[in-house]
């Protein structure tokens, strides 16, 4: 008596679940997916979008399975619907063990799939646009990387372009179709540089150079927000940047370099991090070991570390 009813219940649930998953997964992936944040302005943004979509497609059947099961249970298995003399279902221990083992296997496989895919999406696009610290492990293969320094301070972002004499500006302009290395640092507390549409996010730590890579793919405007609570005006710490065609960028950069040359001379010399000695304000308290930017620098770990801090044996 109970065996056929059991399989009917299960069959109904599985059928509903299969239909819903088979409909909703493709609808999501092809209809909603391409519009998911953070868009496709850079390769890291596109990678994140793809990653989100793949995870949603994986998660949707899981969510649906639980929801269908619960809905079915709530509708059918309530005391008011079941005759009082129906014997209570008692799980067969062997069957229960099989279900438990199967459950563990399925969740484990799902988790390992999510992990493997996540690692791939992290490593292959050179850190997926996230902050990789001063010595990035995963670097772009391109040799032509444009470094841009992002400096956070309460409550403002400024940007320095070391390849253009190290001028500092509040305007963030980046060329299209270019590999960019954002070097994010802070002068006071922890901020977080979040270029939303670029799919770039990196904490700005004082005395730390946090590098994030991305490859631009479309021109347009993007939002920059501070994403780590940095004091009362944290909410107002945002501005906009622009991806422009290469030629426009070089025109802008060279003209700005020339225009700001007199002010650049007054700034501390360009460095990856800024200590109080950078502009001589420390009264000789700090070891003077900050080495300026070196154009021949490569993104291999030890090299950056050494040029960044200078000789360690002071």
């Amino acid at each position: 008596m109970s065996t056929p009813r059991r399989s009917n219940d299960l069959r109904t649930m599985v059928t509903i679940w299969l239909i819903l998953s088979a409909v909703l997964d493709p609808v999501y992936f092809w209809v909603i997916g391409p519009h998911m944040p953070p868009g496709t302005m850079t390769d890291s943004a596109a990678g994140q979008q793809f990653d989100i979509n793949v995870l949603v497609v994986t998660a949707l059947p899981v969510v649906l399975a639980v929801w269908v099961y619960m809905a079915y249970a709530v509708i059918n298995w309530r005391a008011s619907k079941i005759p009082a003399d129906t014997p209570v279902f008692v799980a067969d221990p062997k069957r229960a063990t099989r279900i438990q083992v199967a459950w563990i296997l399925v969740t484990a496989v799902t988790v390992m799939w999510a992990f493997g895919f996540g690692v791939y999406e992290l490593v292959v696009p050179a850190g997926a646009g996230g902050g990789e610290g001063p010595n990035p492990v995963w670097t772009p293969t391109s040799k032509n990387i444009l470094p841009i320094q992002v400096i956070g301070q309460q409550w403002l972002w400024t940007y320095r372009y070391p390849t253009f004499g190290g001028f500092e500006t509040t305007q963030l302009m980046i060329p299209n179709n270019t590999e960019i290395a954002f070097h994010v640092t802070s002068l006071d507390v922890i901020h977080d540089f979040w270029a939303y549409q670029l799919g770039v996010k990196a904490d700005a730590n004082p005395q730390e150079d946090n590098v994030a890579f991305t490859h631009t793919a479309q021109v347009g405007r993007f939002t920059v927000r501070c994403d780590e609570l940095c004091g009362i005006w944290h909410g107002a710490m945002y501005d906009y940047g622009h991806i422009v065609p290469k030629a426009t960028f070089y025109k802008w950069a060279t003209s700005t370099e020339a225009k700001l040359a007199s002010q650049t001379k007054l700034l501390p010399p360009f460095a990856w991090i800024y200590t109080p000695d950078a502009n001589g304000a420390d009264g000789g308290y700090y070891p003077n070991n900050v080495v300026p930017y070196n154009k021949t620098e490569l993104y291999s770990s030890q090299h950056v570390r050494i040029t960044q801090y200078g000789a360690k044996n002071s």
């Binding site: 309530r78 799919g199 004082p206 700090y286």
Partner: protein, 654 residues
């Protein structure tokens, strides 16, 4: 053996004689505590001024952190002294025997230092609800500010203070929300014990908890703290006096958490009744045990991190000051080493309560009891190895990100066990849709969303998009509020009839549930989307295009807040205005706590029960009773007592 010597055990409730102490307890209550706390505050402030007023940093900054920290610390000590929590620890210095505060005294006993775990549990109920509603009001203020992206109700300074207070109060509250009220009230009853292992430690943790509440509120008149509940340095080092309230408050609450966990773990290990083997332990007790382990081992790190922060601000050390050889990463690491187990401190008891209630309302055995218990232990263990997933974008150990992604995702396997237990129990059930059952089902609905979004967050590339955004905020509200707070209210509806002896109004309970459930989801689901669309946390200004979603969430949040008024009305109405006595076992539960009379006597059990069967044999024909309460008249009873079948480890100490 029943001696006349006043040990913590024999004749505990008989003795009211002052045994070497001064018998002060009968004169002490919250009012004396307030007076002594105020005195302590002033004394601490005075000492701090004497010590610190000459410091360059104080003279230059106009803010004496030494005085603030000492005032808060002495205030908290004064609170403990005034309530009587320190009577025995001080009397002990001259070897005094323990002195027991009176267990009688009607309602006034709830305003006194009490060693009865049921009184402490009720005190915790009131204290945690006070915490919850204070934090909830602050949440309403946050949603009010976010009604409009550019027109400001609070302004950035007040807003950031409110955000910090809300987060900190809620985190402090949530870490004790179940452990404090229900853990303390229920665990001895569930394991068949007449007492806690360390009742003074238990009561001490409660009064520390209340002291922490007041300390954290003192931040508001000092301008709040600008760091949110995570307290990141160097902003922490830079902040005003409110930051001291945060650090001292968290250290006090942390100490209370360690002590509460210490007592509960020791109780569960040593005080189980004969026959209460590990395989018969109620699933809620398993969850409390796992949580207690987390409390005991993770919270010391928070206390240390707080101590370092206090030293940075008072003794001018440089733990978190990069320019002086410290590191802002140090706080992030220490804080999250505590902070992530903290998340499971909040989640696990909720799972346990649901596991406890589901069999009752489905009329079935709990499915996969062992898997459920193993899942909780697994979650507890794994939670120590995931903390850096909060720091994926920070630049700390970038090469470790795959490892932390793996450990974080692995946690979803034991968490999945909890779902397996729940869904398996629902199979061909005979569900009674009583309020507690609805809250249980809601937990599964909400926690599913919370858990799945957690997997998204653990994926590093996706984390680049959503880290630090409203997505994170909505995610952890789905897990903590959607999980723990729902389980807590389900538990209250389930156990309050036992705790208070009164029946709660069913219609109001159902109204509370439906309003809370619907508007909880209508509040936080839009916030998931808001986060995906690029709104960072803790901002008072946001993109114009996100206003409709934010306003929708705000209005829902108001109604969600109003749902708690239904609960309060229900509570007040059913318990004081129109009380209807509750039956001894209204839900037909097999739980040991339901087998004792209502109201539960101070000593819980006339005789130590002997546990004779598994706890969840619902619907099993001819299931034996849970326990033998018969006392020495039954032969099995004496044999079990003498044989010590619970294996409480007594053999070790001799």
């Amino acid at each position: 053996m029943a001696s006349t010597i006043d040990t913590p055990i024999a004749g505990r409730h008989v003795s009211t004689r002052p045994a070497g102490g001064l018998g002060l307890n009968r004169y002490q209550n919250v009012f004396t505590a307030f007076v002594v706390a105020a005195g302590g505050y002033l004394l601490g402030h005075y000492i701090g001024n004497v010590i610190g007023s000459g410091y360059v940093s104080v003279q230059g900054g106009g803010q004496n952190d030494v005085a603030i920290v000492l005032a808060l610390t002495f205030g908290a000590l004064g609170w403990l002294l005034g309530i009587g929590a320190l009577n025995y620890p001080l009397a002990k210095l001259v070897g005094a025997s323990p002195e027991y505060p009176p267990t009688e005294g009607g309602w006034m006993r709830y305003f006194r230092f009490s060693l009865d775990h049921k009184v402490v549990g009720m005190q915790y109920v009131i204290a945690t609800l006070l915490f919850l509603f204070t934090g909830g009001l602050l949440a309403m203020a946050i949603r009010t500010e976010l009604l409009n992206p550019t027109i400001h109700v609070l302004g950035p300074g007040t807003y950031i203070a409110v955000v910090g207070e809300h987060g900190t109060i809620m985190m402090m509250m949530a870490s004790s929300l179940v452990i404090g009220p229900l853990g303390n009230w229920l665990v001895p009853l569930m394991i068949g014990s007449r007492r806690m292992a360390f009742p003074r430690v238990e009561a001490f943790s409660l009064w520390l908890f209340t002291a922490g509440y007041m300390v954290i509120l003192t931040a508001l008149p000092m301008g709040g703290f600008p760091t949110g509940w995570t307290g990141y340095a160097p902003l922490q080092t830079q902040a005003g006096g409110g930051m001291d309230s945060y650090l001292v408050g968290f250290a006090i609450i942390g100490t209370g958490m360690v002590l509460a966990g210490f007592n509960l773990a020791a109780t569960i290990v040593t005080c189980r009744a004969p026959g209460m083997t590990w395989g018969r332990l109620p699933i809620f007790v398993w969850s409390v045990l796992a949580t207690a382990a987390l409390l005991v081992f993770a919270t010391p790190t928070l206390i240390c991190a707080g101590l370092f922060g206090i030293l940075d601000r008072t003794a001018q050390t440089a733990f978190y000051v990069n320019e002086h050889g410290g590191s802002s990463f140090l706080w992030e690491n220490l804080f999250w080493f505590f902070g992530h187990p903290e998340v499971y401190i909040m989640a696990l008891p909720g799972f346990g309560m649901v596991g406890e209630m589901l069999p009752v309302f489905t009329g079935k055995q709990l499915f996969g009891y062992k898997v459920g218990a193993a899942g909780m232990i697994g979650v507890a263990l794994l939670s120590f190895f995931v903390w850096q997933h909060h720091l994926f974008q920070s630049g700390i150990n970038p090469d470790m990100r795959p490892l932390f992604m793996l450990t974080t995702e692995l946690i979803s396997i034991p968490t999945g066990f909890i779902f397996l237990v729940g869904l398996g129990t629902l199979w061909k059930a005979r569900m009674r849709m009583e309020p507690p059952m609805l809250f249980c089902l809601a937990l599964y609905f909400n926690f599913l969303i919370g858990g799945i979004t957690g997997v998204f967050l653990s994926d590093v590339p996706v984390n680049v998009t959503v880290h630090g955004s409203f997505f994170v905020l909505a995610h952890f509200h789905y897990t903590i509020m959607g999980g723990l707070v729902f389980a807590f209210f389900g538990g209250l509806y389930y156990w309050l009839p036992k705790m208070t002896g009164k029946t709660l109004n069913r219609k109001l309970s159902l109204a509370h549930f439906w309003v809370m459930f619907i508007f909880f989801n209508l509040t936080f689901f839009p916030l998931l989307i808001v986060g995906l669309l690029g709104q960072p946390r803790r901002v008072f200004e946001y993109a114009q295009r996100l206003q409709p979603l934010n306003d929708f969430a705000s209005v829902s949040a108001y109604i969600l807040g109003a749902s708690f008024l239904i609960f309060i009305a229900n509570f007040v109405w059913s318990i004081w205005i129109d009380p209807k006595p509750a039956p001894t076992n209204p839900w037909g539960s097999r739980g040991l706590e339901w087998q004792v009379p209502t109201p539960v006597p101070a000593y819980n059990f006339e005789h130590i029960p002997v546990i004779v069967s598994d706890p969840y044999l619902y619907g099993v024909p001819d299931a034996p009773p849970v326990a033998d309460f018969g006392g020495a008249s039954s032969p099995a009873y004496a044999a079990a007592l003498a044989g010590d079948t619970a294996g409480d480890g007594a053999a070790r100490s001799e």
